[in-house]
């Protein structure tokens, strides 16, 4: 089971994982990315490439499902303006046993950072700036190749 979604509205983790929990596996690993509260950023605005984004996320989930024999994988990514502490992204993998689920979950978020067409703009007071890509993210994605 592969499910991907790009949406503005908040999402529930329980609701997002429910379809994976119905697959009969013993292990679900998930990762939630949040707007951090550790600097002066007030709003993070996510832009994406409609059409390409969904295809890129689906391919990513399918690659993970094939590589680790998953029962299912889910990716939800929000777009639009988000405030501190809000959820940006959820990736989750369901497998019979935990090692596959844990590894696939790490793979999904590492690869999503470099392979899905999203862009973040930060707003601090009156000032807005586009977030720069991080070399560390390229390195993290590279280790799965």
């Amino acid at each position: 089971m592969i499910a991907v979604a790009v949406r503005q509205a908040p999402f529930s983790i329980d609701a997002a994982l429910a379809p994976l929990e119905a697959l009969g596996g013993g292990a679900i690993a998930s990762f939630v990315g949040l707007v951090r509260g550790d600097d002066a950023v007030e709003t993070l605005t996510l832009e994406h490439y409609p059409g390409m984004t969904e295809a890129a996320l689906r391919r990513l989930a399918e690659e993970a499902a094939a590589r680790w024999s998953l029962l299912g994988a889910t990716i939800i990514h929000r777009v639009g303006p988000l405030r501190r502490g809000e959820r940006i992204v959820l990736v989750a993998a369901c497998a019979p046993h935990r090692r596959d689920a844990l590894d696939a979950c790490a793979y999904l978020i590492d690869r999503l950072k470099t392979d899905a067409p999203f862009w973040k703009r930060e707003t601090r007071g009156e000032e807005a700036s586009w977030v720069e890509a991080r070399a560390a993210d390229d390195d993290a994605a590279e280790r799965w190749r």
Binding site: G33, L46, E47, H48, Y49, G51, M52, A55, H77, I88, V89, I109, L112, K113, T114, D115, A116, P117, F118, W119, K120, R121, W130, V131, E132, A133, R134, D137
Partner: protein, 85 residues
Amino acid sequence: MTLTILYFAWVRERIGASEEAVDLPQAVATPRALAAWLAERSPGHRAALSDLARIRVAIDQEFADLDASIAGAREVAFFPPVTGG
């Protein structure tokens, strides 16, 4: 050949448009050549597309190299390195 060009993030902001349709001269065969050709359109285009080290490309919604072929493509997008997740 009519091609849809898409811009995202600060590329879009500098150009002041998210999308345009262009009739392409046959000599423009790669995203690199396309960027140089588009840069002539306005100062905003030039500001957005002059430093290609900062630009990434998708051809028909697949990430592509600046020197890939755009022959037969319907859609080419220019944007900064992605920062999602």
